[in-house]
Amino acid sequence: MTANFRLPVGGRVNRDEALRFSLDGRPMLGYRGDTLASALLANGVHQVATSIKYGRPRGIMAAGVEDASALVQIEEPFPEPMMSATTVELYDGLIARGLPGQGRLADRPDPARYDAKHVHCDVVVVGAGPAGLVAALTSARSGARVVLVDDQNQAGGALLGSDEYFDDLGSPAAWVHEVLAELRATPGVLVLERTTAFGAYDDGFLLALQRRTDHLGAAAPKDVARQRIWRIRAKQTVIATGAHERPVVFADNDRPGIMLAGAARTYLHRYGVLPGRRIVVFTTNDSAYTAAIELAETGVDVPMLLDARAVPPEGLVAECAARGIEVRAGHAVTGTEGREHITDVHIAPLAGTGHPDTIMCDTLLVSGGWNPVVHLFSQLRGALRYAPELGAFVPGEELPDVQVVGSAAGALDLASCVRQGGEAGRAASEAAGFTRPAPVPLPTSDARVAEAAAMVLWQVPEGAEPTADTRFVDLQRDATVSDVLRATGAGLRSLEHIKRYTTIGTAHDQGKTSGMIAAGIVAEALGVKIAEQRPTTFRPPYTSVPFAALAGRDRGELHDPVRITAMHSWHVAQGALFEDVGQWKRPWYYPRPGEDMADAVLRECRAARESVALMDGSTLGKIDVQGQDSGEFLDMLYTNMMSNLKVGRIRYGVMCGVDGMVIDDGTVIRLAEDRFLVTTTTGNAAKILEWMEEWLQTEWPHLRVFLTSVTEHWATVPLVGPRSRDVLASLAPELDVSNEAFGFMSWRDTVLDVTGGVAARVCRISFSGELAYEINVNAWHGRALWEALMAAGEPYGITPYGTETMHVLRAEKGYPIIGQDTDGTVTPQDLGMSWAVSKKKPDFIGKRSFARSENNRPDRKQLVGLLPANPATVLPEGAQIIESAHLPEPPVRMLGHVTSSYASAALDRGFALAVVRSGRDRIGETLYVPVADDVVPVTVTDSVLFDKEGTRRDG
């Protein structure tokens, strides 16, 4: 049975568009323009949820983001947890469920699109209430670029919840419409509705979440981003975010049917919905009188208004009397009855004459005053000041390029709000350089003005402390006055500590209605002034923001850039599996039908060792080093000497940090007297270029050296194996590939017989220990080169190989991978590379550290090989190495760990590289590697396990 609380006329809902929805399986109807909350109230539904700790029925207490209790789980069209019924715009087919405290995430990927957009402006105005509208229009008329952000589906702010009349301009709606129309017609102005500014940051940066298609439900177009994060960069910021009404705490203040007085006005005027049929009002200030009077005027029974103040405002009392509303001054609500819905309120005098009474009602409206929405200002590290006349914190200092106006600054009447808005709009546009005067006529209204000062009342005092406290401070956390007193009783004094102890203000509403009250109750309990208490810090986000919105379009294939080489499409077509190396996709191995990874890698390794194989090495970092002082510069950067490298020759080089630890390695080829090309490891390319630039620009700017990244200019193919020379020769008719003419560690430029002649630089270097050539061509020809090599190598069974085979081949030769076999604590000497450390150079980066005693300890970890006793064993990388065959009691002395481990086709066994304390002195010893429940015996060997003499490479 659905009761009808919708007025026959009025409100800003479209009564021609009925929408079907349900809560907890109960089907109902609402209208386009409703929120879920207003539609529920129109159907007489107050209870929405049950509370998280005590399971108490909870209803709709507010009409906006400040609501702490009407939490729902959206089930259809797509599951979304923890939504406030007061902020969910109704759409057809909405299926919701009241939340017992916690929501449920969808178990399937969200099909909606999300995105982000940058926007730059001179002035951003947050809030399209009267103050914000005037500010935005004033700025816009000056010619400034303006962004106006508002979280509602229509501008107007507090005007949406009133029926006041603008003296000169007619209805507020007409005025809002006029202002908006002008704003929208002004070039350079962007009006963002349904957009919540949730974070304010340095340098005029504001993040806002726009709900673009949420209100369309299942009818939302699939290709339109459902939500958008606006990244707003403004020269000037005007915060006109209004104020949230706060309740007063009393026993059983959480029953459905208890609502903020201002919210009732919003439901009445914006949605044409009555919150109930018999309404009692309890207030500490004048604002709730208007609610009582307006509701009475619609024919609702408003038997009584309780004013906590001893002396109520005469004029308003007279207006009430004229409508049959009894005003009881100096009275408060002391308790309520009812379960799913309030049925009675208990009242009592706060002091003096009068007697307790019980009044029947179905709705209790409460107003404890107004909290300016100072969140964004506070996020900007603006200090807050306690305003005793409001019982609330207001902006307490001037921030550069930021203004707070209207109710957000504590002004609660229209005249002040629009005046401040106009002044702020002018000041902001002038500060942004727009001096053209552009006054906006300010509206004046017939709204009731406050007659008397408000009273600050956090809670209705109780005689004795109740055993089961139902005086809820934070409804969403089920935290009560007793919880606050327990905290202060335990000695806590700081609001930050009490917040964490009681959890008040930590729920998804972030204490919008409870934080100020908690501060007040704490101050009372401690007997201190609130002004002396530091308020808790407001942090972004102001309202909850879905992770999907923050991720935007950085999902799926766009989650992280995928870097590919010129040959990538070939690898894909050949069924390669890929390994991520930094952002690069590198072929990992190329399985043939029926092969697993081990089979494929053994086959690829055999091809490289026995015939010929090739890989895509284009990802190696490449830096062109040019200028007269290049040799001198490289001598400082590398541990070995580079200045004496002859043109046409190549040298392996190691780079260390100033601490003497290896940071990168690669080859250095000398192109000319004043020009080198150096390579870096794939993952370090950008870092090493920046490292080199740092030294060049900050320490040695006098050097005539210029660094240019050419990583992607070149496609690079290592051609590896005993038949590599034959393959190269068949493609390089002009190149003498003989060992005599083209020796190891030299390079030649030639023209390859590829698509009509492609210039190539061929480097005779080897990372596999085999005879090998690294062929470099302009990347436009990378794919053609690759295909030509495949064709030329066909007679030899040329085999493409991936990074796994590369790793095995180099590990068999004991070549370390920087970043895998090293971890930032390994010196060249630890790697057994003293040969790569110049003794001749007076200095280079890292040299001085090699003389430190720490770097000369005999028990440093050194790179060695490990051969498991059982040749079939492949040790896990990262495994620890110990001295005893049995795992001793902890602490266990670790000697080092396995850094690389593979099955080797060439060695016909498993093997590993490891860093081991005094490793080189232990060659021949047996050490032990705990693996799961086993302890595996291993023999320590030299790190070079294959072709120690290098005859294959030099062949």
Binding site: R381, E690, Q697, D843, R848, S849, A851, R852, S853
Partner: protein, 95 residues
Amino acid sequence: MQLISCPWCGPREEVEFHYGGQAHVAYPDDPAALSDEDWARFVFFRDNPSGPFAERWSHAAGCRRWFNAIRDTRSHELLDVYRMDEAQPARTGTS
């Protein structure tokens, strides 16, 4: 998102920049002449003031130039930026 003012390119979002630690820590003229302790001081020790701090930044995603900045470590406010060939601006007081 803070803006950092590159001396060449002007204000850009901080994601375009890389941090380079304390500025004006010159590489020693003759490292070999230093004691282990003095060398370790150069390698490992940096100031950590509460207040203005001269730092190196690189406009990594922009012009790739290293430059110096004075940053107030309490507020992250960049009080000055200056090129490598410019002297450190004199500052008085706490900011």
